[in-house]
């Protein structure tokens, strides 16, 4: 890659305001037997002819598509846009006899059946990573939050690491995998952890030091671009954002928008008040916290790295929501956070909802059917 192109990719483009945007990886399911389909290409071709706000893109296997929202300053417009996109996608998918579903994993598909989407990049991933690539047929939500500059982005990645368990617990929607109850709230993250470049950003002080690290890794040939780091949170200089990547795709677009509102309020709070300075401890407890959140969800315990104490993840979310509420209100997302907090108080999770459907109907087929109905907006999920 020529030098100028690299410089361009790593040139941090400042984002005004604390803007938000999301990427949602979605499951394409056959109506016939509710297993994963492989019609991403046909569906994307149809979507290309519709005036879809945002964008629809292929993902690693032919059973997935990814929706990208536009850039939003307010939660409400993001939620509206996501609903419009959802309706179009559900309608077009229906014409191909496909169902679309949220959730972090398909409950019973066989990973060996998956087929890699035929682009050069995805083929290269299959070539390099072998079965990991096909097992990567898991479905996540990425939340982008705009940052004023590279230094702020580095600071925010360090800060948001403390909240990784929050995002995992709030989005958890992959209790079933390969036909079994995994006992995890989010089993999806274990599929991500297997990649050698998974994990977190190193503890760098500022953007300059980050660039130094990046150039070193590139010099070794470990990475070719930022895309090769599968970190939980990573800076995205070309968008001028930090990208939180630990969420399962929730069962509804409404919940996806709520998660974005929460991320936005957290970032706004840290930019405005700078309540803490980065500490290595946040990374030292990270894997423990991450495990607790994926395994137990809201009921798990996290280690608070700054005050060095243990606290229930659910309680910690409620305390955090109160702390960031003034900023959320300033950005017209007060109601969104109140809704999120109400769910935490009642112990709601998408994973719990999926388990309840299984207990009720006795078959994972019904879990998929109900989840795709929930995605299409056909069911009340409270």
């Amino acid at each position: 890659m020529p030098e100028t192109q690299v410089a361009d990719e790593m040139n941090f483009r400042p984002s005004a305001h604390v803007s938000i945007g999301v990427e949602l990886e979605l499951q394409l399911v056959r109506a016939h037997d509710l297993d994963l389909a492989r019609d991403a290409d046909d569906l994307l071709a149809r979507l290309a002819k519709r005036s879809l706000p945002g964008a629809a893109k292929p993902e690693i296997t032919e059973s997935m598509i990814e929706l990208n929202s536009g850039v939003h300053r307010r939660y409400a417009t993001l939620a509206d846009e996501l609903r419009v996109m959802r309706d179009i996608v559900v309608k077009e998918a229906g014409l191909l006899n496909l169902r679309v579903s949220g959730g972090g994993s398909h409950p019973f598909h066989d990973w060996a059946d998956r087929r890699i989407y035929p682009t050069e990049r995805f083929r290269a991933i299959l070539e390099r990573y072998g079965f990991l690539a096909k097992q990567f047929t898991v479905f996540g939500q990425h939340v982008h939050v705009g940052c004023p500059d590279g230094d702020a982005a580095v600071y925010l990645v360090h800060m948001m690491t403390r909240y990784v368990p929050h995002f995992i617990a709030l989005s958890a929607a992959s209790p079933f995998y390969q036909g079994e109850d995994t006992s995890f709230q989010s089993s999806r993250l274990t599929a991500v952890s297997a990649f050698p470049l998974a994990g977190h950003m190193p503890f760098v002080r500022d953007w300059a030091e980050f660039l130094e690290y990046y150039e070193t890794m590139r010099g070794f040939g470990v990475v070719a671009s930022m895309k090769d780091f599968y970190w939980d949170i990573r800076p995205k200089p070309e968008y001028g954002t930090i990208e939180i990547r630990v969420c399962d795709t929730p069962l509804t677009v409404e919940r996806a928008a709520l998660l974005a509102a929460y991320a936005q309020a957290l970032v706004a709070y840290h930019l405005a008040e700078r309540p803490r300075e980065p500490a290595r401890a946040a990374y030292q407890v990270n894997s423990f916290n991450r495990f607790e959140a994926s395994r137990f969800g809201l009921a798990g315990e996290l280690i608070e790295p700054y005050e060095r104490r243990r606290v229930k993840i659910g309680e910690d979310i409620l305390a955090t929501v109160s702390a960031v509420m003034p900023h959320a209100r300033r950005m017209e997302a007060g109601d969104a956070l109140a809704e999120l907090a109400a769910g935490v108080r009642s112990g709601y999770s998408d994973a719990g909802w999926l388990r309840a459907r299984y207990a009720e109907a006795g078959s994972l087929l019904d879990v998929v059917r109900e989840a795709s109905a929930a995605w299409a907006g056909g069911r009340d999920r409270t």
């Binding site: 046909d42 071709a45 006795g362």
Partner: protein, 403 residues
């Protein structure tokens, strides 16, 4: 010295010996053809049947074929059930162009074949009967090739859906032509009118009753795939037997059962049927026996008519899909492949020809030999077309070359 425990010569060929031999011969021929010639296994099954059948070696004579007819019915019954189960009304409701394409595909091939047969001097009534039979695609070939290649995607789904629709329409058309055959056969008006009514109404009613029973028992059994499969086989056999006792159409009854089971299962009690190792048995035996009943005689005497029949049928299907496929969501280039995938004819068509000629000798020796020859061609070559189309469409599982 007379040893009383030794069997007497000559050995009597018992049913189990015959059955086992057929199964082994079919399986090995299919495997060999696939391994050494990269042809679909189905073609091998059918070839084994041809070699064993009265046309060549005569190991399977007409009498044996007749006694084994129950196996054809059973295999075909399961396959036709699965086909009906694929007929998803919700999809047709959602995608109207798909419905239009499916109907046009049947209508156009009917018209094209009718025109071709009439051109060659068949009476309109016979031409219409031939056209009705020609409308149907072989459900067994479509299902087995898709299954063997682990094909998935829009072309595969549509091939199965269109096959379901054209089989139903072919049967409907043939049944509605019955009164006219009756009249030619100098039956009375009431008999001519009541017979199709009895066949259609009775088959639908029996299918409905079996469906209610299937759904009810499935709910009671719970969502266990293995148990539901046994239940399904039991009910399919029971339904076939009842349909035969009542002189109803086995195929119509089973299609109805499959169709209603999919579309009336509001509580989602039924698990989708998966043909495992057990399913393979039915497929092999069906194709071997169909192969044994194929007739090539007319190929030499009336090859031209047979050729015209095959060509007209293909053009009808292709034209309809080319005209209406795009708005229904067939990707560019997919229409031709879909038409090729729909080429095969086989066991179902043989059964239709036999049933009709048994009921009405007036059906004509000449037409049935033409039809059986066309079926012979499409039974052996059709699977190749289907395999080619699915692979070309990129829907076969990579690494699953031969079917």
């Amino acid at each position: 010295m007379e040893l009383s425990f030794l069997p007497h010569l000559p050995f009597a060929l018992s049913q189990p010996v015959l059955f086992g031999a057929l199964l082994a011969a079919g399986l090995l021929a299919g495997e060999a053809l696939n391994r050494y010639a990269h042809l679909p296994r189905i073609t091998g099954f059918a070839l084994a049947g041809v070699l064993l059948g009265p046309q060549v070696s005569g190991l399977l004579d007409r009498e044996a074929l007749h006694t084994l007819r129950v196996l054809i019915d059973l295999s075909l019954g399961l396959i036709v059930f699965e086909l009906g189960f694929r007929l998803d009304f919700a999809w047709l409701r959602l995608n109207r162009w798909l419905l239009v394409t499916a109907l046009a595909e049947s209508a156009f091939s009917f018209i094209a074949v009718y025109a071709a047969l009439e051109y060659f001097g068949f009476r309109p009534l016979l031409a219409a009967c031939g056209a009705a039979i020609g409308t149907a695609t072989s459900p067994a070939v479509a299902l087995l090739v898709a299954h063997d290649m682990r094909a998935e995607g829009q072309i595969t789904e549509r091939m199965l859906l269109f096959t379901a629709v054209n089989c139903v329409l072919a049967y409907l058309a043939l049944t509605l032509l019955l009164p006219f055959l009756h009249l030619e056969h100098r039956a009375t008006w009431p008999e001519a009118l009541l017979h199709p009514l009895y066949l259609l109404g009775g088959s639908a009613l029996l299918g409905f009753a079996a469906c209610v029973l299937l759904l009810w028992l499935s709910r009671w059994l719970g969502k266990r795939e293995d148990r539901q499969f046994v239940l399904l086989v039991a009910l399919v056999v029971l339904t076939i037997g009842t349909a035969r006792i009542l002189n109803l159409s086995v195929v119509m009854t089973l299609v109805t059962l499959g169709m209603l089971s999919r579309n009336l299962d509001y509580r989602h009690a039924l698990m989708p049927l998966r043909f495992g190792y057990g399913g393979q048995l039915f497929f092999v035996i069906l194709f071997v026996l169909t192969g044994a009943s194929l007739q090539f005689g007319a190929l030499w005497t009336s090859g031209l008519v047979v050729g015209a029949f095959v060509l007209a049928r293909f053009l009808g299907k292709a034209l309809a899909i080319l005209l209406f496929g795009r708005p229904s969501g067939v990707r560019p280039g997919g229409a031709g492949l879909l038409a090729i995938a729909l080429l095969p004819m086989s066991g179902l068509a043989v059964v239709m020809v036999h049933d009709t000629s048994v009921l009405y000798p007036a059906f004509g020796r000449e037409l049935s030999t033409v039809l059986l020859s066309a079926i012979a061609v499409l039974e052996l070559l059709g699977p190749l077309g289907t395999q080619y189309a699915l692979r070309r469409a990129g829907e076969a599982h990579p690494g699953r070359g031969g079917a």
